[in-house]
């Protein structure tokens, strides 16, 4: 999952870069839409992977482009705009490379977000030049700031190392209030950055207001200041310096309230907890899940230790967690319930036991099998790296050091040789395409050698034997090459659990996501294009489709909504279906909105349901009045149609008011490999997907009868079928026109059946589907073409094309 994320990100960033660089002198509307979409996706994916710094930066850029897209303001300084976007991109890139090398993405995006927000404010303010210089000086300032703090961090790290020797270095409890400049905005975020800044230099940080991510906190801080309490081994002066380096600081107050010994009294509510988490069987990548747990509690608790220690070591950690669960020892002033709630968040969590312990040492662990359930370790106690705060002066300093070690564990513990990308390499799909082409040539070349006319009539016993071996190897290679491109939908589908879950929490809805047919394999190219559409449709279903629990119970539905995500193969197509039992689409609302946007081309009453539903896929179309973090901006469904267009897929919406909606994405077999029956008609060859073929049979001209419209029909085994003569359908010449001379093939597409008349059957073989060149417009009845073993081209029949829509 992590490498998928990294790969996806790097691709998106590459795309983004192209658009931005091209847009230096002015962005086209398309480019703005595209950048907006990319940022939207980056925001979504990184939030899902809990890389919040990335997602907030992406969010601010998205906001900026949202404004550009909606308002299309004039006089925008595109050069600066591009600069800001590129800065944001570089930030994200840097974070991604940190993730890639197994480190924590800990960059601070705040200064950048501030710059972008200012820029946006400036745009909104009619491009008033006044704030510009201010905005421009900021990056420098921010740069200095980070350099400074980095410097400080080093210093303090050095101090921490020295500390054990200096017996006098003791931890002190400080209490203080800081005030920010009036009008600096987003006090909560600043306070958050401030707290982050102190991490590693101070411990046990508590503050009021508690939840800094809530925007209401900004107001509180503005009114009352930001109150905090912390313990630190740093001298008062140093701490003052660190605090005073905060951006936009107006005034500060810092008091030492007590020495190390009083610590226990100062924060009596700090307790030590032991938690054991186990994950569902088959949830895979337990180590990453554990990592996410660590990440989710970060900042709120002090992680004293965890087992397995090296959770990024895939093999060891996964086995360990599967066998023993993930053990976490932490200290926090949070209430038991609050902590429990946080810890039970992870997806696939099976069990969670959380208990309070007297001290970290109480958690006795045997190095190899910490048998948490009976709490009776067989082996002697392993000393825990962190000691309780009550310890005396002398041991307080080493404690500092130990803490630093623990807090950096996730990053440091990662063996540099074991980066998460180790087991996978990403290969450019064009290389796979090339490989596939060469494979085809190889097969042809093989036939040319082994069936060479010069060999005819010769007794070649060993040659034939070797040739057979060669043939076998070539077949194996062919299978491998083809399988390389096929990827099950599993990973894509399972990503959706998380999305549904997060949305449910935020929207206070209850939704069950049911996944069916996740082992359906799809060409790699296609998977890349459909994962976003699936995500957006699911979001749409949860956000718009499923109603609030109380509303549901009023209408007699179960409180828990249900979204079914299903994949299946039909007739050579892959169908991906998202079905919800929500309220269904509101046709009137969609029509009204379409009318307001001037999208209607005929009288509203003339629109069919299908046409109405298609409106929701237009860019910028949303019936949600309010922009939420999930939807309302009208990007999502736009992504669905654009992405599907790329792979030549379609999306179909069905909806019953009050009962729910069904989104069916039909992905054509482009680039997929199909089992095909090659037939001859006229001078050309055609390939019919075997999966739609029911049977072939001979018939006579006299078996045919016609209805008044001239439609031909045939009776076969007591049932009547329509007959399509392929040469007539395509309007090409063929020598064989009489039914007796050719052959009938019965084809099936879903519920419908038709009999196709062709000249003759040639044979069955696996073919690689290639799209028709773009230059040739869509031909009804043909879905693509393929190159046969002898180098000839065969056109692939689209069975659906024979039926009326």
């Amino acid at each position: 999952m992590l490498d998928m994320f990294i790969y996806e990100m790097s691709q998106l960033l590459d795309q983004l870069e192209q658009h931005v660089v091209q847009g230096d002198s002015g962005f086209s509307m398309d480019a703005i839409n595209e950048i907006f979409r990319i940022m939207h996706t980056i925001k979504g994916s990184s939030a899902m992977m809990m890389f919040n710094n990335i997602s907030t930066v992406a969010h601010s850029i998205e906001d900026l482009f949202f404004y550009l897209r909606e308002e299309n303001p004039s006089g925008v300084d595109y050069g600066r705009l591009a600069d800001h976007v590129l800065e944001g991109m570089d930030f994200i890139k840097a974070e991604i490379s940190k993730i890639e090398s197994g480190a924590q993405p800990d960059g601070d995006g705040e200064p950048l977000i501030k710059i972008i927000k200012n820029f946006l404010a400036e745009l909104k303010g009619g491009g008033a030049p006044a704030p510009a210089p201010k905005a421009e000086t900021k990056p420098k300032k921010a740069g200095k700031e980070s350099a400074k703090s980095a410097n400080k961090a080093e210093k303090s790290a050095a101090k921490a190392k020295e500390a054990p020797r200096g017996a006098g270095a003791a931890e002190t409890v400080y209490e203080g209030i800081i005030w920010f400049n009036d009008g600096c905005e987003m006090e909560n975020v600043r306070a958050y950055a401030f707290v982050n800044n102190l991490e590693g230099k101070a411990a046990n940080i508590t503050h009021v207001p508690e939840n800094l991510l809530d925007e209401a906190a900004a107001e509180v801080i503005h009114e009352n200041g930001f109150w905090f309490q912390l313990t630190s081994g740093l001298p008062y002066d140093d701490l003052c310096k660190i605090i005073s380096s905060t951006i936009y600081l107006k005034s500060m107050q810092l008091d030492a309230v007590g020495g190390d010994t009083s610590k226990a009294e100062v924060s009596p509510e700090v307790k030590i907890y032991k938690a054991v988490l186990t994950f569902d069987e088959g949830s895979e990548m337990e180590n990453i899940r554990a990592y996410n747990v660590l990440h989710s509690v970060e900042g709120r608790v002090r992680v004293l230790k965890h087992l397995p220690e090296d959770i990024l070591d895939e093999e060891v950690a996964v086995d360990h967690i599967r066998a023993n669960g993930f053990l976490l020892v932490l200290s926090t002033d949070m209430k038991y319930d609050a902590l429990y709630n946080i810890l039970q968040e992870p997806v696939y969590l099976k069990t969670l036991t959380l208990e309070e312990v007297q001290s970290a040492e109480d958690v006795k662990v045997t190095p190899l099998e910490p048998d948490e359930n009976d709490g009776l370790p067989a082996a002697p106690v392993v000393s825990v790296s962190k000691k309780k705060p009550e310890t005396a002066d002398a041991s307080a300093a080493p404690e500092e050091k130990a803490e630093a070690a623990v807090s950096s564990a996730p990053a440091a513990a990662a063996d540099p040789k074991r980066s998460p990308t180790q087991h996978m390499i990403s290969v450019n799909v064009s290389k796979l395409d090339l490989l596939l082409n060469l494979m085809g040539e190889l097969v042809i070349a093989e036939a040319m050698v082994t069936q060479n006319p010069e060999l005819e009539g010769l007794e070649l016993e060993s040659f034939v034997k070797e040739a057979r071996q060669l043939h076998k190897i070539i077949n194996d290679i062919q299978d491998t090459v083809m399988s390389m491109r096929m990827v099950p939908l599993q990973a894509t589908f399972f990503k959706m659990h998380r999305i549904v879950r997060d949305m449910c929490r935020q929207l206070e809805k209850e939704v069950d996501l049911v996944i069916v047919g996740e082992d359906t394999e799809v060409d790699k190219n296609i998977i890349e294009h459909i994962s976003d559409p699936i995500m957006h449709i699911i979001r749409n279903s949860v956000d718009h489709g499923i109603e609030m629990p109380d509303e549901r119970s009023k209408t007699g539905k179960p409180e828990k909504g249900r979204v079914i995500l299903e994949a299946k193969n039909t007739g050579g197509d892959v169908l991906i279906i998202v079905r919800d039992d929500g309220a269904g689409l509101n046709k009137d609302k969609i029509l009204r909105k379409a009318q307001n946007n001037g999208l209607l081309r005929k009288d509203p009453s003339e629109y069919s349901d299908k046409e109405i539903y298609q409106f929701i896929f237009l860019p910028g179309f949303s019936t949600n009045e309010q922009v939420t973090s999930f939807s309302g901006r009208g990007v999502g469904m736009d992504v669905v149609s654009t992405n599907l267009e790329v792979v030549g897929g379609t999306v179909l919406v069905e909806s019953t008011p009050g009962e729910g909606s069904t989104f069916t994405m039909k992905i054509p077999l482009t680039l997929a490999i199909i089992e095909g029956m090659t037939v001859k008609m006229g001078g050309a060859k055609y390939t019919i997907p075997i999966i739609s073929m029911k049977k072939s049979f001979n018939a006579k001209e006299t078996d045919i009868f016609r209805d008044p419209n001239g439609n031909e029909m045939i009776m076969e085994r007591g049932e009547v079928y329509n007959v399509v003569r392929l040469f007539e359908f395509f309007g090409v010449d063929s020598q064989i026109r009489k039914i007796e001379d050719g052959i009938m093939i019965m084809l099936e597409n879903g519920e419908q059946t038709v009999c196709l008349f062709v000249d003759e059957l040639i044979g069955e073989q696996q073919v690689v589907v290639k799209p028709m060149p773009k230059y040739i417009k869509k031909v009804r009845g043909i879905s693509g073409c393929t190159i046969l073993g002898n180098g000839d081209i065969s056109l692939i029949i689209d069975v659906g094309g024979f039926f009326d829509k």
């Binding site: 040539e441 090409v732 290639k770 073409c785 190159i787």
Partner: protein
């Protein structure tokens, strides 16, 4: 990175310089036409053309060129001239124009020649026939004239 780009632009420039003023000429009936050599990818013959039903009349079909599927245009049809049996001089000129790769069936390929800018003249301004709307300019070499194709109209307009 910057150095790379420079290098690339330089390479592009030199390609442009080399191909500038150079044209590939070919025959349709008795007329000699020319296409800027920068658009020409290769010239092939003896490829089996697979017909595609229900396409524009001048689309002869598709061919497989080392695994790539390329549509082929029958230039005679495009010019509304009578079709002609393939002979040993008939070739397919593969051109790359915008995002398309296309084959052009021509009667005979003649040569690659220089036509200097000074010898290129605009076509007559009266649009009399269907064909001359595809002619961008007239190139003059000695006594003979070549018709320079307007690829945009020729390939992309219905």
């Amino acid at each position: 990175m910057a150095a790379d780009t420079d290098h690339l632009t330089q390479a592009n420039q030199s390609i442009e310089e080399i191909t500038k003023d150079q044209y590939l000429t070919f025959f349709i009936e008795d007329e000699e036409y020319a296409i800027g050599i920068a658009y020409i990818k290769e010239i092939v013959n003896n490829l089996t053309i697979t017909q595609v039903p229900q396409t524009l009349s001048y689309v002869a079909g598709i061919v497989s060129l080392r695994g790539d599927i390329i549509p082929v245009i029958n230039v005679r049809c495009r010019f509304m001239k009578a079709d002609k049996e393939f002979d040993e001089q008939t070739c397919i000129v593969v051109v790359e124009y915008q995002e398309y790769q296309l084959g052009l069936i021509v009667d005979k390929v003649k040569e690659v020649m220089f036509i200097e800018e000074g010898n290129i003249f605009p076509p007559p301004n009266a649009k009399l026939s269907h064909v001359n709307q595809f002619i961008k300019n007239i190139g003059k070499i000695g006594d003979s004239v070549k018709l320079l194709l307007d690829l945009d109209r020729f390939l992309l307009q219905d």
